[in-house]
């Protein structure tokens, strides 16, 4: 659990639904990373592992319907912890958006950032309790 380099949510066509960067990249580099991750992840089938080496790092990813949730971390980091961190995040989104679908992420993109910041900050896991995160999100939701 050292340091997440970035989190990406992409659909099968390669459209980015969330990109959260935890290290400095310029815009061209970001675009390249997005394309490469898409190319690496979408060719894998369900029998494959949820981990794939990527440059000097690795991508931990899981597919939910048409969306790929990807986290890029150091090669010696704990794969399963991040795999479940993705699931934990997805469950929070699901609860918050009440059966989340891709469109929720499109129309409420600015809220998705808030959810991410509650759960991950500075590339680290900030909060893991779904109850606590949702309570906080609902409180924020009630504010003007």
């Amino acid at each position: 659990m050292v340091w997440i380099r970035f989190i990406l949510i992409q659909n099968r066509a390669g459209k980015t639904r969330l990109a959260k960067w935890y290290m400095q990249f310029d815009d061209d580099e970001k675009q390249k990373l997005i394309e490469e991750v898409h190319a690496v992840v979408t060719v894998r089938d369900a029998k494959h592992t949820n981990f794939v080496e990527f440059r000097n790092f690795k991508i931990i990813y899981r597919r939910y319907a048409g969306l790929y949730f990807c986290i890029c971390v150091d090669v010696n980091d704990n794969n399963l912890a991040y795999l479940e961190a993705i699931h934990n995040f997805v469950e929070v989104l699901n609860e918050y958006f009440h059966n989340v679908c891709e469109l929720d992420l499109v129309f409420n993109f600015y809220k998705v950032y808030t959810v991410v910041d509650e759960m991950f900050l500075a590339g680290e896991i900030r909060e893991t309790s779904q109850t606590k995160v949702l309570k906080q999100l609902l409180m924020l939701q009630s504010l003007e």
């Binding site: 704990n78 600015y110 900050l121 900030r126 909060e127 893991t128």
Partner: protein, 901 residues
């Protein structure tokens, strides 16, 4: 729980997003966006002051447009205005815009920082968190400068809300990573460690990350975290699956926090305190025990969370590498996973076992799984899993199973994915060499490699087989026979032709007795491949042919005809043409004796570390680089040694006044090299300098190897040699350009000429920049006058005669000193030989004494030296006497040598 509806709150935004989604073409989308941009621009420029809501809506639209991939060049000011709104939703959009579109416009940064400052001071936890998240997301140096001092205060303040503490901890972590110099340790550090005891698990989760990062640079300051982490971990591990309520994930208590705590403990050696250690071992055992219990849920989330903790526990056990019992248990657990139906677990078990294989306590336990791993190599569907299996086979290989593993890897190579073939080839080549019991097996293996995957056999691999065959005469005949057979194949790889050509040229005579491989047959076999080969291979074959003329005079006419052919003599390639012309002439004009001398069998190669191993190390690269490396740069340049950036040393080396004094240990380091020529001259946390040198007569050549031990490049790396005083007139040291050697380290070659006797060694000044800080280092170059010793053998009577001739008092230097090392005759002998003089037996009437003689060779003069060393074991003393024709030399040699015993 109320669901969030689409575009809730900002209808205009939802409409705009819908419009964009309905666009049928890219052009339509751009048109719609341009229309929107024009609209927003006019609103922002309009006379009517916009209300907060409109501003928020338009800024949010701009953000959406930016995220679609379009440039946004306005709206920043409006976003900054939103920061000072009192409404959360407006503030949030403002901060989000700033975080996503960081702009280093200094005017704005000042305003942004001002807004952040107000929010941090607001005592409103929601606003404080927004501000902290913004700092954490941007993490710029400017923000560090503005807030690095405030955040520790917020973090440890008694009245900060839990959520604020969580954010502050990670915000501080981000600033520390970006600019460590801005975050001074202080009174707050101790209080941060105590956050591990916090009641709120979320605070602990954030704090562990911060401590893990800080303790790497300041392990002692944070040492108290060990016992706190152990007790926290122990409480989690031993809790029932429902105790932790909110922090229980699919019946697993606090999996992420557990993993983080186990990671933190890996920053330290095992706890010294027996009670703490006992408690920790108990935790680790509990985790291993739980892995054997039936699962509390069938959901994959349950087993993943549980196994995340298990794998991290195993990592800690491997990190300690001191508990044989735990290591073996870990290995057994992983063994079960090797056959698990989840691909993820099989992959992770293979990966984790690889590290277990290198521990002496678990190596044997890992080996018992060989059949399963071989099976994985053959049957796994995911190439990354097969690759882990190949890694593990390589790691578990030893003398007992090398043949089996190598043959399985060879078999796998036939169907292996192209991406990993070269690596497998290297691994096979290394294992075959390392564990070769008989070298015929080694030769077979390498030739098989070339046969199966010739394209992936790099030069290092086939050079190495030639070196080994050349150095071992017991395998040469076998090698000749085997390559001869391999070349019979109608289509054989060009690398096979190269190896075959070289080996037959050297050792073809060993199989020439058999009529099936008589000289003409060997020649025509090789020549049948000639025309299809590349220039480099044809050049090599031409050399083989000329060697054949020497080995087998009967082939001379045929070969000369080949050389004389227009296709060779007038070949468009200059190298081939030159070889043909020269070889043809050589074979015509040289006598058999001359030919035999010129074309003599190659001498054995000096033994050295396998270059293949170096290549594999380079290929594997670092566990993680400091930046995402997409392979555009030479990947070898930032691994192992971090890549030293060499600059050619300037002709005008700095004078002695420009460089600092030698480091305090310089003399001690120099002394290490008086009697030897190779070794590590210097090492610190950043840099290692190795030396390899050879001297003959008054000349010497020295190789300096600079290894960068960090993961970042050194800037302006410049090593120079300086001659203090009038050394310039006594010793010439010519620095050759500094070149990167294979990416592993930088090598610098020095040519040295001793002009006349000298007393002080040259200085080596190394300067570079590391992380912005200039580094300078001055060492004494290990060149001492004795390096130019030529040993001289002489009989007893000659020795005494000369000894008498050098009887002037100033010609003699004597020292009586206490032994600093155990007095061992063999060691002493080795040191004297290393010093450079000849050792003369049967000269001194006392057999305990050592007597030596030699001549120091300089360009201007020769200095004859005689020495006598008298050990007195009882008193643990030595008496050393030197007589030379030059007074200062006697004294200097005496001083140098006396330091060695």
């Amino acid at each position: 729980m109320p669901a969030v509806s689409k575009g809730d709150g900002m209808r205009g935004l939802a409409v705009f997003i819908s419009d964009i989604r309905n666009c049928k073409s890219k052009e339509a989308e751009i048109k719609r966006i341009n229309k929107e941009l024009a609209n927003i621009r006019s609103k922002f420029k309009g006379d009517k002051a916009l209300d907060g809501y409109s501003k928020k809506k338009y800024v949010c639209k701009l953000l959406f447009i930016f995220l679609l991939g379009h440039d946004i060049d306005f709206g920043h000011m409006e976003a900054v205005n939103l920061l000072s709104s009192n409404k959360y939703t407006e503030k949030q959009i403002g901060y989000l815009f700033i975080s996503v579109l960081v702009n280093s416009n200094s005017e704005l940064i000042r305003l942004i920082n001002n807004a952040i400052k107000n929010d941090l001071a607001s005592r409103n936890p929601t606003f404080m968190c927004l501000a902290l998240h913004c700092i954490a997301n941007v993490g710029s140096r400017e923000m560090g400068e503005a807030f690095a001092a405030d955040i520790p205060r917020i973090l440890v303040a008694g009245d900060s809300m839990d959520s604020v503490k969580q954010s502050a901890a990670l915000c501080l972590l981000r600033l520390y990573k970006a600019s460590p110099d801005l975050v001074p340790m202080g009174e707050w550090t101790a209080r941060v460690v105590h956050l591990l005891n916090d009641q709120h698990m979320g605070v602990v989760t954030a704090a562990v990350s911060l401590i893990t990062c800080l303790c790497k640079k300041n392990p002692d300051d944070f040492k108290t975290c060990i016992s706190l982490a152990v007790s926290r971990l122990s409480r989690i591990v031993s809790s029932a699956s429902t105790d932790l309520q909110d922090y229980t994930y699919y019946f697993v208590p606090a999996p992420w926090l557990s993993v983080k705590l186990l990671r933190l403990l890996q920053c330290y050696p095992p706890p010294e305190d027996a009670a703490v250690k006992g408690r920790l071992v108990e935790c680790l055992e509990t985790v291993l025990n739980k892995a054997q219990e039936p699962p509390k849920s069938k959901k994959v989330q349950h087993s993943n969370a549980k196994n995340a903790i298990l794998f991290e526990t195993i990592s800690l056990i491997i990190h300690y590498d001191s508990e044989p019992n735990l290591l073996v248990r870990a290995c057994n657990q992983l063994g079960q996973f090797l056959q698990h139906r989840e691909t993820n677990l099989r992959y992770l078990a293979l990966e984790s076992m690889c590290t277990l294989a290198s521990s002496e306590f678990s190596h044997e336990a890992v080996k018992t799984h060989i059949d399963t791993v071989i099976n994985a190599l053959k049957t796994e569907r995911d190439v990354s899993v097969r690759q882990r299996a190949a890694d593990l086979l390589y790691a578990m290989c030893d003398r007992s199973n090398a043949k089996q593993i190598v043959s399985e890897m060879l078999r796998y190579l036939e169907t292996a994915d192209y991406a990993i073939r070269e690596e497998i080839v290297l691994k096979v080549a290394i294992l075959a060499e390392k564990y070769a019991v008989d070298y015929s097996w080694y030769v077979d293996t390498i030739l098989n490699l070339i046969r199966i995957a010739g394209d992936y056999v790099s030069e290092e691999v086939w050079y190495r087989v030639l070196q080994i065959v050349t150095n071992r005469d017991d395998v040469q005949g076998y090698a000749a026979k085997t390559v001869f057979e391999a070349l019979q194949a109608p289509a054989c790889h060009e690398n096979m032709v190269k190896v075959g050509g070289y080996i037959l040229g050297e050792f073809g005579n060993l199989i020439a007795g058999d009529p099936r491989s008589s000289p003409p047959v060997q020649f025509s076999l090789l020549h049948s491949k000639f025309h299809l080969c590349s220039v480099a291979t044809r050049a090599l074959l031409l050399s083989t042919y000329i060697k054949f003329i020497n080995l087998f005079p009967e082939t001379k006419a045929t070969i000369q005809a080949v050389l004389r052919a227009g296709s060779q003599l007038r070949n468009a390639d200059v190298e081939l043409q030159q070889r043909a012309v020269e070889y043809l002439t050589l074979s015509s004009v040289a006598s058999t004796d001359v030919l035999a001398t010129v074309l003599e069998e190659m001498p054995p190669f000096p033994e050295r570390e396998s270059s293949i191993l170096a290549k594999l190390k380079r290929k594997k690269g670092p566990g993680a680089g400091s930046a995402l490396d997409d392979g555009r740069r030479d990947p070898s340049s930032n691994d192992i040694n971090g890549g030293v950036e060499p600059t050619p040393s300037t002709v005008l080396s700095p004078g002695p006044e420009d460089i600092g004094p030698p480091i305090p240990e310089a003399d001690e380091l120099l002394n290490k090299f008086v009697c030897k020529n190779n070794g590590v001259l210097f090492e610190n946390q950043l840099l290692q300098i190795g030396v390899k040198s050879e001297f003959r007569q008054n000349l010497g050549r020295m190789y300096l190897f600079y290894g960068n031990k960090t993961s970042v490049q050194f800037q302006n790396f410049s090593p120079t040699v300086v001659h203090p005083g009038d050394l310039q007139t006594q010793l010439a040291v010519q620095t050759k350009r500094v070149a990167v050697d294979g990416g592993a380290q930088v090598q610098q070659v020095l040519n040295i000429e001793c002009l006349r006797d000298f007393l002080t060694p040259p200085l080596l000044s190394v300067r570079f920049r590391y992380g912005g800080t200039p580094q300078a280092l001055t060492l004494k170059l290990p060149v001492t006058i004795n390096k130019f010793f030529q040993p001289t053998e002489m009989a007893a009577q000659d020795f005494f005669q000369r000894w008498k001739q050098l009887s002037l008092p100033q010609q003699e230097a004597q020292k009586i000193f206490k032994a600093n090392h155990p007095m061992d005759a063999e060691v002493t002998k080795a040191k004297l030989l290393g010093f450079g003089s000849a050792l003369l037996d049967n000269v001194d009437p006392n057999p305990e004494n050592f007597v030596g003689a030699g001549i120091i060779q300089t360009k201007a003069l020769q200095v004859g030296c005689l020495l006598r060393l008298e050990p007195n074991a009882q008193a643990q003393m030595y008496r050393l006497t030197l007589r030379t024709s030059k007074e200062p030399v006697s004294r200097h040699l005496c001083e140098l040598l006396a330091q060695q015993f």
